[in-house]
């Protein structure tokens, strides 16, 4: 994707967000209805942002998706997460040589590849894959038509990527009520409960070494998009703080004139710039057949750690007003913390990173 197309895409997403700012704000406060989420699916589909990753996932496409994600995250991080996960799903279908079904698809974006095998119990009964247990916190599960789950290799069996239809009353499969969460409330999560659920042959979307490698590679590349989401949140929080400081009067002057506030804003700006630049550099340095380099993963994890503290300062600069729901600053703080876990438990991922190094 060339730079003009990329800019155009970013601009069109930004203007869509600006036109729909009040809808996005409402969705983030009160969990949106399935009807509204389905409408959004239709809108985004027609905007062409649900299948940006093409047949050959290249760094240009990841860059384009990350650009869309950062623009969306500035207004609504939940929607950015939804769009990124839908793109991830669409790309896996492309890899499987199948066309993706209509509607939202739920993916375990809160789990790292190293965690997949611990999510549910799976065993093979005369070749039949059977699932038990609970896969928790799957985004959009209550509105999705399908869940796409990676099943780790076990008992001499290959890695499998299974596509479970959620619309029918499947025996042994149930979906919990949406969880009440800290942040990203417009993208509700729920749990998928299995009770001796037999996976049918037609549910297996991809299997074998290629399936594992491409799924893990995709998770690795999606990191760039998740960083772009964090950068979008940081930028929004920073700008709100800066604009507020430029008009709030305390201590005998506009507070932006107090050197303490200037220092806080300057530090905030520095980190926001670094976060924004990091995902851009990462996207440009991607190699489509290689996972992220260790340094890149390190930067991504750092951005996850840092963002909750930055957005906490974002509230602090506003004082009491920052704590109120009417000012979006408190929401950014909550979203930021939840974004720490995008693509997995940070401790699990840190250990995993080191594990590769020590090998």
């Amino acid at each position: 994707m060339d730079i003009e197309t990329l800019t155009l895409l970013g601009d069109s997403v930004r203007s869509w967000c600006e036109d729909n700012a009040s809808l996005l704000g409402k969705m983030e406060h009160k969990q949106p209805s399935n009807e509204l989420l389905n409408q959004l699916y239709g809108t985004f589909n027609s905007l062409g942002i649900l299948s940006i990753l093409g047949e050959q996932e290249t760094h240009h496409e990841i860059e384009a998706l990350a650009e869309v994600a950062t623009q969306l995250a500035y207004h609504s991080p939940s929607i950015a997460v939804m769009v990124v996960q839908q793109n991830m799903a669409a790309w896996l279908f492309t890899e499987a040589g199948k066309s993706a079904p209509e509607g939202w698809i739920s993916l375990p974006v809160y789990d790292a590849a190293s965690e997949w095998r611990f999510q549910i119990n799976h065993r093979y009964n005369q070749g039949q894959l059977s699932l038990d247990g609970r896969w928790s916190s799957l985004p959009l599960l209550n509105v999705a038509t399908h869940a796409l789950l990676p099943i780790a290799a076990k008992e001499g069996r290959d890695f499998q990527l299974i596509l479970l239809p959620l619309t029918q009353n499947e025996r042994g499969l149930s979906v919990s009520a949406p969880a009440v969460t800290l942040g990203l409330r417009a993208c509700p999560t729920a749990d998928l409960q299995f009770a001796q659920y037999d996976v049918k042959q037609e549910h297996i979307l991809l299997s074998g070494e290629k399936a594992r490698a491409c799924t893990e590679l995709l998770w690795s590349h999606a990191e760039t998009c998740m960083m772009a989401i964090r950068a979008g949140i940081a930028k929004a929080s920073y700008r709100t703080a800066r604009d507020y400081a430029a008009q709030r009067y305390q201590g005998g002057k506009i507070i932006i004139e107090h050197s303490l506030i200037r220092k806080m804003l300057a530090d905030f700006y520095r980190e926001t710039c670094a976060m924004d630049e990091s995902w851009r550099m990462m996207a440009q340095g991607l190699q489509s057949d290689q996972p992220l380099r260790h340094g890149q993963v390190g930067v991504a994890l750092k951005s996850g750690d840092l963002l909750p503290w930055l957005t906490s300062d974002g509230i602090q600069i506003l004082g009491g007003v920052g704590y109120m729901e009417d000012y979006i600053q408190e929401r950014r703080f909550r979203d930021a913390k939840q974004c720490e876990f995008l693509l997995g438990h940070p401790h699990a991922r840190t250990l995993n990173l080191w594990h590769h190094e020590s090998e």
């Binding site: 942040g183 201590g251 503290w309 906490s312 109120m324 703080f333």
Partner: protein, 500 residues
């Protein structure tokens, strides 16, 4: 303007089992040294500690998350049954001397109560603590008549099982941090004024973010004398009763956390306040403005330290509960060394926070606003006699007399500037350090719990929403530190006496 409605609370559920609590002296070993001198006080404190523990375990802890969920949908919900229970446990009158019918607990016990309640729900601690803040303002006026009026209202209602809240109305749209510091009051755009009229004052103004604004039976209001020159010495302190004509509470703010303690806008439109409800701050208010406010902040910032310590402890306990029943990469979490160290660090921060606020509290007891209260003797049988109706009248008229006023003000005048600065600086440190430790613990507890951390049912996400407020109210942490510079480093900088 319509006042907001308060909704009823459904019956409370059965208690649930909790992690074993620390014993009194395990939690406060530093107090053992002081209590050696007064073993009776030690026993009284421990007995109170046990009662509060029981209140928390049986009446508070099992309902905290449900209450929070209800408040998410309905910001006007009030957990009435829980608050009635707090009356049974005498949590409203705990700080009043037995001679006026209060529970006669030591100030240290009151702070422990706030800490322990905050270790289950800091919003509930705030609900009770805000009344403490209002009370501190009244105390700082050293007007015995006003003090006994407030005490009687709370004590009498508590006996009838009616929870009674106070609010402190200082902040206004143009006066936030500036109204948190006597020296900055000159910058504060405090627009609430009181105009002298026959028999009292007429109040006009608009207060914002007032905790308990929607619940308070009495609002303690700071306003300028309309006939003065808007100098700190023109500040007056009023007690405004709920239902006064012209008083309204148009809305509750929608806050990120501490939802159980409503923060509201409170509007005064020509509200008449009779003379007997005006605190006699004396010396044209200058004592109250310069000495009183600093003393109030020394006390209440230590109080925020106690809240924050409770949250720090809660984060540790919440993480511990989660760790005990969850695996990490296929292994039980509690068996992993790094997890134990994370937990140990959570517990360590709680211990550091506790030591920090307790040292500020001891400073307040020794040389600050709490000193006169701690001097009220425990007269045993005489206390009982003093609370009997006939004798109570004599006692009240004595308190109303100017001799009592002079006595109170003499106690107030014994504090030197250096002592006041020390007490306030300790308050600043307690508030800033404990709230930072609490924030650190909440962030780390969630990170440890992973995606379980952001789900409401596990408790940690509520903690993160709640804890942020501790860095904002009673002056933002930044403004608290500017105050610290002024109190502790005046000789190190020129112009250290101002926040600008």
């Amino acid at each position: 303007m319509q006042s907001i409605a308060i909704n009823e609370c459904p019956p409370l559920a059965e208690p649930t089992a909790k992690i074993a609590e620390l014993s009194f002296l395990e939690r406060y070993p530093e107090l053992a040294f002081y209590l050696q001198k007064d073993p009776a006080l030690g026993r009284k404190m421990e007995a109170h500690y046990r009662r509060v523990e029981q209140f928390c375990r049986y009446h508070l802890a099992p309902h905290v998350l449900d209450i929070d969920l209800k408040l998410r949908d309905d910001p006007h919900y009030v957990p009435h049954e829980l608050l009635k229970k707090a009356c049974d446990y005498r949590l409203f009158s705990m700080m009043f001397p037995a001679s006026v019918g209060g529970a006669g607990e030591h100030v240290i016990s009151a702070f422990m109560t706030y800490e322990m309640i905050a270790s289950h729900c800091v919003g509930v601690a705030n609900l009770l603590g805000v009344s403490g803040l209002a009370l501190a303002c009244v105390l700082a006026s050293f007007d015995p008549r006003a003090i006994s009026k407030v005490a009687r209202l709370i004590v009498d209602n508590e006996k009838k099982g009616i929870p009674t809240f106070l609010s402190t109305c200082v902040t206004e749209p143009g006066a936030g941090s500036d109204a948190e510091d006597a020296d900055e009051f000159t910058h504060a755009q405090l627009r609430t004024t009181a105009k002298r009229v026959p028999g009292g004052y007429r109040l006009n103004g608009n207060k914002v973010f007032i905790s308990n604004g929607a619940l308070a039976a009495l609002h303690v209001v700071v306003a300028y004398d309309a006939d003065g020159a808007h100098r700190p010495e023109d500040l007056l302190l009023f007690l405004v009763a709920r239902g006064s004509e012209g008083l309204s509470v148009p809305r509750n703010e929608k806050k990120m956390g501490q939802k159980v303690c409503p923060a509201s806008e409170v509007v005064f439109e020509d509200v008449f306040v009779p003379d007997e409800m005006v605190c006699r701050t004396g010396d044209k208010g200058s004592y109250f403005a310069y000495t009183g406010i600093a003393n109030v902040l020394g006390l209440t910032r230590a109080g925020v330290g106690a809240f924050a310590t409770g949250v720090t402890e809660n984060a540790y306990r919440t993480a511990l509960q989660f760790v005990r029943s969850n695996d990490f990469l296929g292994q039980p979490m509690e068996q992993q060394q790094w997890v134990r160290i994370e937990l140990a660090n959570l517990a360590r921060r709680a211990q550091v926070a506790r030591a920090t606020y307790v040292s500020a509290l001891l400073a307040v007891c020794a040389k600050g606003l709490a000193n006169p209260i701690t001097r009220v003797p425990d007269w045993g049988v005489a206390n009982w006699a003093l609370t009997q109706p006939g004798i109570a009248n004599v006692r009240d008229s004595l308190l109303d007399s100017s001799i009592a006023e002079k006595l109170f003000k003499r106690i107030a005048a014994t504090q030197t500037t250096s002592e006041r600065d020390t007490v306030t600086a300790y308050g600043d440190v307690a508030k800033v350090s404990c709230s930072e430790l609490a924030m650190e613990n909440c962030q780390r507890a969630i990170s440890l719990m992973g995606k379980g951390g952001f789900r409401h049912e596990n408790g940690a996400e509520k903690l993160l929403r709640d804890v942020k407020l501790l860095q904002i109210y009673e002056g933002t942490n930044q403004v608290n530190m500017l105050d610290f510079v002024k109190r502790r480093l005046p000789r190190q900088f020129s112009n250290a006496d101002t926040l600008v």
